[in-house]
Symmetry: C2
Subunit: 240 residues, 2 copies
DNA sequence: GGAATAGTGTCTATAAGACAGTATGCA
DNA sequence: TGCATACTGTCTTATAGACACTATTCC
């Protein structure tokens, strides 16, 4: 950064959330990958994955690209968070002026498990409850991303992004519980989800349980996960 | 724009909303100032006020600066809207790549009236219901700002930003009605506002009415207008 | 049948909306 | 006194939450 004194650099970073248990058979929590900085400022501290914006690349593509470079995954959900650009972001001040356009993403948990060994050098996953020393203002950025995630999970349909293709209502409820950090009434949760039409029953059930097997559901793709308002009029490449 | 081929320009623009009646004694509507473009692309079309970000200037300061240059006013409310950066924003494509960080602002209506003659050349105010041909993707940006404003007025306390120091509940209700585009029940509106504690009675009443004089209220500054979450941890200069 | 979880019914508290009705200041 | 608007009371409906209850599968 800051090779051209007097210029303002433009970077894109991404807060990538995955859901996974702290220990086996423990309740799941939120985790995110960070990159260790190998040069000043903040050498040795951890930072959000990201990098400069390419000249022929959309902002969202840049976020998805760094996500892929960090986790070898596709985002299940991706949304712009905020543009951070105060003068005090770098200890160098205006000499190292960087405006970061930050995205936040959700990745499916079972995919995280299968690609666990695919993490490049200098990348580690951390629980959001136990973060290391962070570079720049990345602590505030992560807090803000968490705040947005927790708000959004209550009024939109993004929780399924943490799950696989089919899932039980108990699994979906556990996602909500992990994100919100509190337990939810199974009866009321079921009613809320059913009345929102966000899932459809597959007709199948879970096999191999030692008790009554729960129904499996699939996400209802005919209902938009979030209302982005007029932003949906902007071009968006479909992601597989 | 685009003086350095291969570089990505960074601009800050602002959607500035004011409330004023279409004709005298008509119900108020939303208006905003636009700037006529005097060079290609989109020469002759209208665009949002804005310009390049200065090296030693915070994003929010840049938005407030262009607001002042356009309207000679201080923003009563100012919030970041979104960063727009798709490749197709300019007809030149990647050759004229501009990432715009857009803010939206509310200005007080009586101040607009007093500074009506202070508009610089090439600036005109338009009703949001009757916009002219717009440059770039500024039509989508304005639509999105309107969408945010209408959502936010329902669950936060920003409507008073359109009003002066003191106001009646009927005036505050008329602001909500103008923003939302529908009429509201005076009784229910009163209860909602009172239970939210966003206003406090001044003890004074309006003078010179030919009917029962309504109470005057003042905005309750001890309650935050909006919950910005962890963003409040970022440095912010107080605006007078 | 017992254990364990899936799934249902029902009551209560709270808030939003519709709308009738009362209060007050001035001509 | 009548008019116009300020302000209050009350009923209905929708929704969230608490929690008791029934259902189904495997052992």
């Amino acid at each position: 950064m800051g090779e051209h004194p007097g210029a303002i650099a433009l970077a894109v970073s991404t807060v990538i959330f995955a859901l996974r248990p702290d220990q086996p058979d423990a309740p799941a929590g939120l985790w995110l990958p960070l990159v260790r900085r190998i040069r000043p400022p903040y050498e040795g501290d951890w930072a959000l994955p990201g990098g400069p914006l390419m000249i022929d690349e959309d902002l969202e593509d840049a976020a998805a690209r760094t996500l892929g470079a960090t986790t070898a995954l596709e985002p299940a959900y991706l949304e712009q968070l905020y543009a951070f650009g105060t003068l005090d972001r770098s200890p160098e001040g205006a000499k190292d002026r960087v405006v970061s356009i930050v995205y936040w993403a959700l990745v499916s948990s079972d995919e995280v498990a299968t690609s666990a060994g695919a993490n490049p050098e200098n990348v580690s996953w951390f629980s959001v409850d136990d973060l290391p020393d962070l570079a720049f203002d990345h602590d505030v950025i992560i807090e803000y991303a968490l705040w947005r995630l927790r708000n959004k999970v209550e009024y939109s349909r993004i929780a399924h992004a943490f799950l696989g293709d089919t899932f039980t209502l108990a699994e979906l409820r556990e996602v909500h519980e992990a994100v919100l950090g509190r337990s939810l009434d199974p009866a009321n949760f079921r009613r809320q989800i059913e009345s929102s039409n966000s899932v459809v029953p597959t007709g199948k059930r879970v096999l191999g349980t030692s008790y009554r097997p729960p129904r499996l559901y699939r996400y209802n793709t005919s209902v938009a996960p979030v209302d982005r308002g007029p932003l949906d009029r902007l071009p968006r490449k479909p992601r597989p």
